[in-house]
Amino acid sequence: MITTALFLAFAALLVGCSLMVILHRNPVTSALFLVLAFCSLAGIYLLLQAEFLAMVQVIVYAGAIMVLFLFVIMYLNLKRDVEDGMPHVLRRFVGWGIGALLLIEGAVYFGRRWALGATLPEPAPTVGNTAAIGQILYSRYLFPFEITSVLLIVAILGAVLIGRGRVAPVTPPEGSS
């Protein structure tokens, strides 16, 4: 009973913050609402008995990725978005239309397929959530784990190289069209 009430509260917060992310004009405010959305998602993970994932969600998404976003927004000194003109009105119309279509489709599909049925009772946990994930991660998913670490090294190298930029700005030669 309390779990359901908490779920509804977190879900309302999540949907509200996500809407503010895409609706607000100032990119910094969008980023901060996204941080709040990630934290409420971490709360929902806790309700799903995924404690390790909830904490990792806060550490990685809310604590590192969004800080990176904020750094870039402040570094580029972005002000309020300017969105006007006919192309934008058309884009808004099409965008919300497609969104509404997707939402109706999702609601019908999920509502009909998995209606309010009984969920399986949870077995008593033998080891903690983190230990259980660790056991699977390092045995069955060892290869993806190692590949992910290679991916991260590639990402670090790539970000450093791309972020450094060129030594001199590229200017087109005179007289070319």
């Binding site: 904490m55 550490i59 604590g63 800080v67 904020l70």
Partner: protein
């Protein structure tokens, strides 16, 4: 009346009620300790510099924190032109909240009465909250619409996220030895011997990164007076500045609590019965906090590039090596 009795007999309600009582007690106690930490710092700093420190307000200057708070309340509060008002107001609050929430998982004593809760990912919660602590400085610096504040804020957040890595990795050694992320289990695993003895390198790295995380000297370039006016809190006045200040000391206290729990054995100690073991916790906590104050008034400030070099080129590889060595030792001991 009978409804109240029915509500009281509901086990969930009892749990929530006692949790709220414990939260109130621990929060008030820790906030009181934080305000007297400020007094302690000024007294200790004074004696280290061959002077007495505050001794006018009240006996031995003990009412100084009250005088400071009253002064801050009465100062004029102004908001710079062009500042983002909402974020300007929120940033100081974000400085205090993560530090205070950390107190909810710290075990002060052996039984349930001495801690608010014990979650099985307590260590990860502490790391998550220290990650969230970056926002207050970043937003405070940016929302002030001031070049010096922005620079100070960005520098400080870059410093904090760089040292967060080494801090997290240094706690993994403790995790390997105790086998659990729950802070209570970690304290129980130190009943024979403190982890500071088994993991000296990790302890040293944790303390160094603790200084960097709390923006205390010798890593306080972002708020250095001579460098960047006052860094990210240049434009803050009155109680907002007070909140930043309070947040910094609350951060110091919460990191020292975690360091005591992880490395110094928490509430373990001889001679005292279980109900008084929290005195051992506070004794170790005082030693660590005194060490923080001592280091601040002893060492010169690190330059920013020296700071980042230290974090990335020294502390990070050393903490990774520490994990490797600890894992090998634990594995061999498990084999034999």
């Amino acid at each position: 009346m009978s409804q109240l009795a029915a509500l009281w007999s509901h086990p969930d309600f009892q749990f929530v009620f006692w949790a709220l009582v414990k939260i109130l007690i621990i929060l008030h106690a820790m906030l009181g300790v934080v305000s007297y930490l400020i007094y302690a710092e000024r007294k200790v700093a004074g004696h280290m510099q061959a002077r007495t420190g505050p001794n006018r307000v009240g006996p031995m200057g003990l009412l100084q924190p009250a005088a400071d708070v009253l002064k801050l309340f009465f100062k004029e509060e102004f908001i710079p032109d062009g500042a983002n008002k909402v974020i300007f107001h929120i940033a100081p609050m974000l400085a205090v909240i993560p530090a205070l929430v950390t107190f909810s998982v710290v075990p002060f004593g052996p039984t349930d009465a001495f801690r608010v809760t014990d979650i099985n990912v307590g260590l990860l919660l502490f790391l998550a909250l220290s990650s969230l602590g970056v926002y207050s400085i970043t937003l405070g610096g940016w929302s002030s619409n001031n070049k010096y504040a922005l620079l100070g804020g960005l520098r400080s957040s870059a410093q904090m996220i760089s040292y967060e890595l080494a801090m997290g990795l240094s706690t993994i050694g403790v995790l390997l030895l105790s086998g659990s992320l729950s802070l209570v289990d970690i304290v129980h695993a130190q009943e024979k011997m403190w982890f500071a003895v088994y993991q000296p390198v990790a302890f040293v790295i944790f303390m160094i990164t603790a200084f960097a995380e709390t923006n205390r000297a010798p890593f306080d370039l972002p708020e250095a007076e001579a460098e960047l006016v006052a860094g990210f809190h240049t434009e803050y006045s009155s109680m907002k500045f007070g909140l930043f200040f309070l947040g910094e000391f609350a951060n110091v206290l919460s990191i020292c609590c975690i360091a005591t729990t992880l490395f110094l054995g928490g509430w373990n100690g001889p001679w005292l019965p279980d109900s008084l073991k929290f005195l051992w916790f506070f004794a170790k906590l005082s030693v660590l906090v005194f060490f923080f104050i001592w280091v601040r008034w002893t060492y010169p400030r690190l330059r920013y590039d020296q700071l980042m070099d230290l974090g990335w080129k020294v502390l990070l590889p050393v903490s990774i090596l520490n994990i490797l060595v600890t894992a090998l030792v634990v594995f061999w001991r498990g084999q034999g």
